[in-house]
Symmetry: D3
Subunit: 299 residues, 6 copies
């Protein structure tokens, strides 16, 4: 076997492709629902990298489905339009005017931007909202009183997504839902992504966040729990170790796994190629939640 | 044959359904591209009626495809955001900031509103823009100098639309295109609809407008030309009888018919059930342009 | 919204089409087995109207399947051929010679006449008998002693019908069956239609009769029972309120609904557009039998 | 290799099956249109044998399509009904009353009898007439003046037949056609079979007749021409050697071969297993007409 | 009905084809797994005859699948290569070198020879081994101690076979398996054939052997048991009446029938056309094992 | 964007995957016929690497088809069997005995070894020879006189290969052909691979050899011609610069490109990951022949 010096670098690269082979084989044909949000939507470089990762996943045989949040665009637009934001228990009251802006920005700006970026690097993406084909049907969420057009997802009609995956497209979904009353409702993007993953019986549900994963010691960022099974995850919820924004995220993951998603992942979207690293390395880089977890089951 | 008095009204209605049968048979399976714009997008009652007409067409076996304009929403939003509009030869200069608003309103507001209305009355609609699945690929239109992100359609990729029609959905399309440079371009909705009709080899291309049709005497609204063939239509363009906004509309129709669309129609969207009347009556209500026109060919 | 006087009538018609929309949506794709018999087969005008109704049903997305009786043609032919008819308990004794004439008239005259009429107004009909593709397999019916070639249906092989519906044809079926002994048997058209509806798991089984429907008071033709559930229908059979020819018809409906047909209808074939009225109006015009009936379930 | 005496007969039979193998291979999947008429329709034993031959052809992979004549049934029925037959140039004048009887007997008696027999020995047959699915569309044939409802075939719509062959059925076709005027027309069975063979681009078109084949010497029944090419066949037409009923039959064959049928055969239906012999032996038993004929091309 | 003397022989042959019709109908579409081995693989004339029988089965609508043994070729090659054979309990110890020769001869000589013969007489055969597409996955068989690369089948992946049957090919399979350790294992051809028949839910599993069938009296070759049900067959195993090589063969049949194969047959491959005789005659020629056996169930 | 030190290596690897993306996109769905031979078949390490490369190609969306030579196994076996080799003009005379060994080794040893290796690392491979499904039909090659069973390919029937590619298998093909006389013929592996590539209209035909590529100066191994168009390649054949074994290889490539293969490649199989390097890098590592070659057309 010759390793001609001239091709040293190229050979090294080829060997890395070969290293990825077992992972590619393992997830060939698998559906992966990715919640895209947080800083990964803001930093230009990260944005591009995430898009490349997604297109690569598509080309090596996985079926990525993207659900995105709104990022800072919504606030900026509300400000520009001098629409004041009221809050109840830290939750924004979404009146009709606000809802209109939220939908417009989510589906008319953020969604199309993601579609553009995916298409430009060779993906075939189509952007829709939860209202298209009645993908997401909601009811008013009154858990926190009447805070306006905030919805709780009641039905998920995945025909639209399946049709797109069958034809090789990457679906990009804005988390607006149609209410049973015909109105538009804002739904939480994490929850929407989880529900869609459940309905698709996805292999993976990945939450791109701004944290390293679930920490066993909140004060030690190196204490990321790499794998955790359902029972342990539920227990964790009761211990007080999980705090703040991580609570709903973990809850969302637990629910997805309970309802048929094989693995849920909370990973750090700010980290270079976090998507590929989580899927294509043994240990992964964030926290993986599964029904039962064994050390050797990633491969 | 008994016509029991009790059911008099119902029987009369049934007879009207039977009357429509020859038209339903004739257009069974036909693709109809409808440019939806003008007052038909503003008046609440007309809006609802047009939506009902479209859903009915779908259920009796036709394949409607909707391409919509932006209506007054865009101007309102530009105003709200204090973005000034500059004009060159009566054409709006579309700088980056304007383009962003145009796309956001078209795809995030107008488009989703149409989708909602169609879904609520039983259609299965999906809203996309010309950027999704690279449906519309454009180049900068420099016919009027550099007026910014105004595009000339260079490619139409109808896979996305065909996939939707195959699965029984009604495609609703916002006229934004992706540029060969990866930027977003605004394209004329009439032209976009025409080009899509051509690519689909549609049976009909219908322009919903705010006028009665093409008039043989511009000063006499009752002088609507009911049918006109391609040669006569081209000649009309040179006679000076066609003026103002009708010129590009007729041009658009001529081009569509020359490129494989069977019939192009200019009809008055303000008129109650104009869509059904044009398709389901002998004479129609506006102007029909075909390669060759015979008195008896509508049925 | 303009209602130009000139188009007043057309607009009114269009509105009626729109009114039918919810019914069209509701029954889109549904299989409807229609027993066509009685006066509706004799009166020329009614014949044509029924045919139009059937073709309309086909074009607006339903799947009609026609099972017809023989009407007066059989008796006329038997007379012309000087074949005497013997009766036992009011039932015709069907000897070999009679059977031959019955089959010949049913499949060679009545059946082809219906096919012709449907095809002429734009349907694509194919006429077969229960012998073709062994659609109906019977055994000698000895419930009334040996009255010759009168059969009791033992098997229904719906491949032939499914193949036709898949390709857009309207099946027209003459109620002759092949015996397990290879002979031809005459079977009751109502029963045949009911059995076929069961085998197809049809949405609707409609008996076109010469009466208004089931009456709660036999002497009051305005006392038509509009809706009745299975339990009530069975009870009715025991009360003595149902008499004469209505008994086997109601029995046939009860059996069909018990075996998976969603709704059975007994309607007055003599009434103009009775088929459309029953399917496309809220209240219907005859009697509808369902497993459970609610006032609002028709739509 | 043991040939145990005990199985002597069975082994001999197996060897005959093996002998048929090259023919079975050769015609595997081929469509064969068979005109069934003459004495082969009358003699009970021959009838049964022809049916067995047809079912065997089906099971060993060929696609038989049967077009039948009316045989003596029509005359018998006309007599029974005291309908007098008028003749012009030896052709029966088919008035409306006669046409009704012809259609009734052909489609309601003869056709169903054939279907029954095929089904009983294991075929899956469906009987239709040329009116079903508008298989045969005709115009009044005025070549011999106005002799009533005698039609000339103008269109053949083979969708119905193709659908049946695709699903494994044997189509049995009665030669009635629908006129462009909506009336029923009687068409010649030989011509109908030939036209259907052309439209199906059949491998073989076989005319079962009451003669040995085409004779080179009309007075010598042993002078059957085994094979003849198109040019020779046409020449034969002009020589006067062909007489009487053979003229239209040969004409029919010539036309079929000219329009895409590979081989046309005129064989003696009275001869035991004539169908199998013609298809499964080298020399055949009747006359075969092909575009070009070589001695060795049967296999 | 004419039986012209001239065609006497041909007619007799045609009648034999017709006689086979009921059997052809009965097994139309059925999958038949044939273990081909013993003298039927050695005698040139028998070889050819078996191949003809298989191709005939294919053409008349059955789906034969061939699993072959190695015959004397393996021993001959081992001798030529001076590889000594050691035996333990009468079983050959298969070391690596021996395994290599076994595989090479089975898949590279015997298999391709069968493929060639089938193709030459008109079959479309493809030869594979149990390693291709991981058709047969084995583990080391240690029932007789460590006798080397002798495998016990653990998995059967019939995708490869189904793909071939779907496309009209005849699969020819050499009994080598891939081990879970990646090595090649020799597996018993009878067992392999039985397991494949089970996985395919075959209609028939036929063992071509060098004996007449199962004898009720081992000393009387005319005492072949024609039919036996599962219970009786199991009992037979315990009576001592079955001896020698017949024991594993019967065991193999019992297991196949218990696991879903409809009929297993042990027949004498040396007998002329034994395959056709067993399938196409009432009594058959060997022993048939079924879940329950009735005298009249062969047809 | 965070590049956490901990994941430094993994991130670097992910970036290499992303680098490969444009190539993966470019060749997604493309058929690549690979002639596998020379030292790449002998060195254990290289073998494994080539297999990994092939499986990776499959998983990232290409369709590899392998045609292999025999390597030294054939000579070794001939020696072991004391079969003497005679040569005419440096070509081995292939008598019947030799042919038998060649086929046995090629299809029973080399072929199955490759299948095993591909399957073990996750490919789904099926090994066949040119005789299976009559993939390769040959005639005796008499260009060098009668040197026995050496064949010239006359027909390529790719049904077998297409069926396998459709179902996700990797076809592995041994270069034996069936003669029109039914005998087995040895065919040149390079030529077989080229002919198969032509018949498949392959995107790429890659010859794995033991040389660096085509050299512009035979004495300077660094003078590899990277790209060459058809005209230049043909001219090269006439200049005398190409010598020895390279002549038939280049001829083979020229013919393939002339007959519809997009690119032919001669690469050094001894070089680590030469397959991946040639496909997934801009410059490639060997010589690429195309109809017309531009510097920028690889991507």
């Amino acid at each position: 076997m010759i390793k001609r010096q001239k091709y040293g670098d190229e050979i090294a690269k080829a060997e890395i492709l070969i290293e990825a082979l077992p992972y590619i084989k393992k997830f060939s044909g698998a559906t992966v629902v990715i919640k895209y949000g947080g800083n990964a939507m803001i930093d230009c470089q990260i944005k591009k990298m995430v898009m490349q990762d997604i297109v690569l996943l598509k080309y090596v045989g996985l079926n990525p489905v993207i659900v995105h949040g709104g990022g800072p665009d919504i606030n900026k637009m509300l400000e520009s339009l001098n629409i004041e934001s009221k809050f109840v228990n830290g939750l924004r009251v979404t009146d009709e005017k606000t809802m209109e802006v939220v939908e417009m920005v989510l589906t008319g700006k953020t969604n199309k931007e993601i579609v553009s970026m995916l298409n430009e690097i060779g993906g075939k993406a189509i952007g829709i909202s939860g209202k298209d084909g009645k993908l997401l049907v909601a009811e008013k969420d009154t858990a926190n009183g009447d805070i306006g057009y905030v919805g709780k997802i009641e039905e998920v009609n995945i025909d639209v997504i399946k049709m797109m995956l069958d034809k090789g497209f990457i679906p990009v979904i804005a988390p607006c839902a149609v209410g049973k009353d015909g109105k538009t409702y804002n739904v939480n993007a994490d929850t929407a992504a989880g529900k869609i993953a459940e309905a698709l019986k996805a292999e993976k549900f990945i939450l791109l966040t701004d944290v390293e994963g679930i920490l066993s010691d909140v004060n030690d960022k190196s204490s990321v729990i790499s794998r955790i099974d359902l029972d342990a995850a539920k227990e964790l919820m009761t211990t007080g170790k999980i705090t703040g924004g991580m609570i709903p995220k973990l809850k969302c993951c637990i629910q997805a796994v309970e309802n048929g998603v094989k693995r849920a992942h909370i990973i750090d979207g700010r980290l270079t190629h976090s998507l590929l690293l989580e899927i294509f390395t043994d240990e992964g880089i964030g926290t993986m939640i599964g029904k039962e977890c064994f050390d050797d089951d990633n491969l």
